[in-house]
Symmetry: C14
Subunit: 93 residues, 14 copies
Amino acid sequence: MDTLTLIAVASIITAGFTIALGSIGPAIGEGRAVSTALSSLAQQPDASATITRTLFVGLAMIESTAIYCFVVSMILIFANPFWNHVTSQLAGK
Amino acid sequence: MDTLTLIAVASIITAGFTIALGSIGPAIGEGRAVSTALSSLAQQPDASATITRTLFVGLAMIESTAIYCFVVSMILIFANPFWNHVTSQLAGK
Amino acid sequence: MDTLTLIAVASIITAGFTIALGSIGPAIGEGRAVSTALSSLAQQPDASATITRTLFVGLAMIESTAIYCFVVSMILIFANPFWNHVTSQLAGK
Amino acid sequence: MDTLTLIAVASIITAGFTIALGSIGPAIGEGRAVSTALSSLAQQPDASATITRTLFVGLAMIESTAIYCFVVSMILIFANPFWNHVTSQLAGK
Amino acid sequence: MDTLTLIAVASIITAGFTIALGSIGPAIGEGRAVSTALSSLAQQPDASATITRTLFVGLAMIESTAIYCFVVSMILIFANPFWNHVTSQLAGK
Amino acid sequence: MDTLTLIAVASIITAGFTIALGSIGPAIGEGRAVSTALSSLAQQPDASATITRTLFVGLAMIESTAIYCFVVSMILIFANPFWNHVTSQLAGK
Amino acid sequence: MDTLTLIAVASIITAGFTIALGSIGPAIGEGRAVSTALSSLAQQPDASATITRTLFVGLAMIESTAIYCFVVSMILIFANPFWNHVTSQLAGK
Amino acid sequence: MDTLTLIAVASIITAGFTIALGSIGPAIGEGRAVSTALSSLAQQPDASATITRTLFVGLAMIESTAIYCFVVSMILIFANPFWNHVTSQLAGK
Amino acid sequence: MDTLTLIAVASIITAGFTIALGSIGPAIGEGRAVSTALSSLAQQPDASATITRTLFVGLAMIESTAIYCFVVSMILIFANPFWNHVTSQLAGK
Amino acid sequence: MDTLTLIAVASIITAGFTIALGSIGPAIGEGRAVSTALSSLAQQPDASATITRTLFVGLAMIESTAIYCFVVSMILIFANPFWNHVTSQLAGK
Amino acid sequence: MDTLTLIAVASIITAGFTIALGSIGPAIGEGRAVSTALSSLAQQPDASATITRTLFVGLAMIESTAIYCFVVSMILIFANPFWNHVTSQLAGK
Amino acid sequence: MDTLTLIAVASIITAGFTIALGSIGPAIGEGRAVSTALSSLAQQPDASATITRTLFVGLAMIESTAIYCFVVSMILIFANPFWNHVTSQLAGK
Amino acid sequence: MDTLTLIAVASIITAGFTIALGSIGPAIGEGRAVSTALSSLAQQPDASATITRTLFVGLAMIESTAIYCFVVSMILIFANPFWNHVTSQLAGK
Amino acid sequence: MDTLTLIAVASIITAGFTIALGSIGPAIGEGRAVSTALSSLAQQPDASATITRTLFVGLAMIESTAIYCFVVSMILIFANPFWNHVTSQLAGK
């Protein structure tokens, strides 16, 4: 049952650190984008429509890298092909 | 009972460090966003409605990356599929 | 009794480092937010109501990431499901 | 069955850290690009067409490096040639 | 008596590093807040009441993250549930 | 079968980290280039043709270093000469 | 006598590093606060009473995090409950 | 067959990390150069010929350090003298 | 005599690194404070009495964190309770 | 054949990391030099001859440190005296 | 003679690194203080007496942290109580 | 033959990392010097003779630290006294 | 002869790294001091006597921390009390 | 012959890293000093005699820390007292 244990442990550790490390970059990047949006709004309130639209597109792009990490993290926990292969093999044995 | 122990230990350590590391980025990013919001409010008090609205949308986006980490951390502690698989197997044995 | 020891040690170490690492980001983020609030107040004393309100909402958002870490830390010490499972199994044995 | 385990563990860990590390750079780079786009829009609202177009081309270039990491990560999980070689060899044995 | 030793050692090391690491963030954050408070006071002495009040609320929020670490550190030294469980079990043996 | 395993594991780990580390530099460098392009466009909209052309040449140069990493990563996964040598030797045995 | 040694070594090492690491943050934070106090005094000598008072309150708050570390360090050396428990047990044996 | 394995593993790992680490510096350096070129073009559009020419010479110099890394990486994969020596010796045996 | 050796080695190493690490923060913090004091004196020579007094209070506060480290370091070398306990036990044996 | 393997592995790893680490400094240094050259050209187009000449001398000096690394890297791969000594000894045996 | 060796080795290594690490902070702090003193002298040559006196007091305070490290380093080499205890014990044996 | 192998491996690894690490500082330092030389030339073209002469003296001083590293690296590869001692001893045996 | 070897190896390694690490801080601190001295001289050539004198006193203070490291390094190589103790003991045996 | 090998390996590794690490600080410090000298010359060409003289004194001071490292490095390779002691002992045997 060693194979099972090792794959489970590796999946648990990797799933956690993937989303933990993967949230640092996007959080800082979004903080920067939101921060400039606010000071731009204060400087040029008339352009608020364009600024808000561009901000949302930008946030979506940045958030996408966090989503990639979350997806990989979820795949490793709930749809891990290596785990499925090994458990099905053990069940079929 | 070794498999159980290893998975438990890995889950405990990963759950803690996931939320610990995952809170650094959002906290700094939100600090930056709030900080600029305040200086923008001081600079252009008339735009306070737009600034506040944009700030809340931005904080929600940034907080979402912290939420991802919290969700993974909670899944690992309270709804860990690997732990459930192994304990159910041991119980059925 | 090895399983018990390992889970206890992992919980102790993780609980401590979760809150230790998890307090760095929020403390710096809040320091930044408070700092800008103060310089904004000095620059525009008339907007003090809006600035104070926005500051408190922001501090609450940032503090929330520290709270997540504290909650996980407390769960690991006082309501650890892995520890409960193992001790109840040992007691029932 | 050792070969299988080792390759699975290596693939899981590498897949997670590839996308986790690979999302830091693009997220920060895009945050910077979006941030300057917003302050440029506030400074020169008339050039919003050129700025938006250049921003999107730039974001696409930066996102491409995150995509490379995501592709490698997906290949390692779902189309790993080493895993396929070994499992087909074991099956044919 | 191995379990006792391991838990004691882990508690000692974790208690120390929790408060040591946990005091870096708050100290720097408070330094920043106090520092801006002073330059704001110099710039706008008339707003000293508002500035002082906001500074104290902010310092309380930041100090709270240091308090969390101190509480966890004290719990690990003086009210450690894992240590109590193991010593009571050994005593009852 | 040890040689096969070791080479596969080394290739998997290296392929992932090569593209992960190799995307940090280009992403930040491109973010910087795009960011200055946008503020230059806002400052001198008339020079938009020259700026855009220079930006694209520059992005191509920077992207090239990411491409090198991607190429090495793909070679290690799909056209690994060491893996081919060893598998052909084992097949011919 | 192994338990005694391990706890003593862990206490010595932790006590030292707790106060060593714990003095970095407060020292830098206080340096910042004092530094701004001085430049504020030079800029607005008339507000010296308010500035000095606020500085002392701030320094007390920042110093408190260093005190926490010193207290934990002293507890570990001179009032270590784990050490007392083990030595009293050995004495009673 | 141990020698073969070790050299193959070392070559694979080194080839990947050489180009991965070696692309960080050039990418950031080129980003800086392109970035200043763009702001110089916006500031002095008349000097665009001289600026573009100097930029290309500079990019070539910076790119050369990335090329060195790529060359060493390719040599290690496709024209490794140590690998050739050992395989020819084994073949001649 | 193993216990003696281990405690001695731990005390030596900890004593040294405690004061070494503990002198970094205060030295940098004091450098900052002195540095601003000097530029404040140059800017406002008339306030030299207030500036000097505040500087000395501040330096005393910052130096105190270095003193904590020195005290712990001296205690570990010359008044180590763990060492005394063990040597007295060995002598009494 | 162990000596041969160890020297080969050490040479491969060192050759790669020498040029990888050695290209970071020059690439960043050259990026800085080129970057200032471009902004100087934009500021003083008349001095372009002197600026270009000084730039080329400077780039040559900086590139020389990258060349040192490349030379050592090539010596380790193609003209390694330790490898030659050992292979000639083995051949003469 | 193992105890003697271990204590000697630990003392040698600790003595060296204590003064090595302990000289980084003071050197940088003093560099900063001297640097501001010089620019203050250039800005306000009339206050040279006050500036020089304050600089010397400040340098003495900063140098004191380096002296602490030097003292501990010398104690460990020439007046090490642990070494004396062990050698006297061995001599008396 | 173990001594020979160890010395060869240590020399190879040290030679490479000496020049690799040793080229980072000089390359960045020279980049800084060249960069300021260029902006000084643009600001004061009349002083070009003095600036160029001082630049060359400065570059020579900075390059000298890289030369020290290159010299040590070459000595370790081609004139290693430890290697010579051991090989001559082995030959004379 | 093991004790001799260990002490010699520890002394060699510590001596080297003590002066290597210990030269980083002073070199950077002196660079900063000299750098400000030069710009102060350019700004206020009349105060050159005071500036030069203060610079030399400051450089002497900063250099002193490097001298401490050099002294410890020399003591460890040429007047190592631990080495002398052990070799005299071995000789007297 | 083990003692000989260990001392040789330690000397080789330490000699290389001493000069490699020891050249980083001086190179950056000198780069800073030269850089300010050049901009001072451009700003005040009349003070070129004083500036050049002060620069040379400063460079000599900074270079001295690199020389210390080079001296220690040379001593370890060519005049190593530990190596001499051991080889003379082996020869006299």
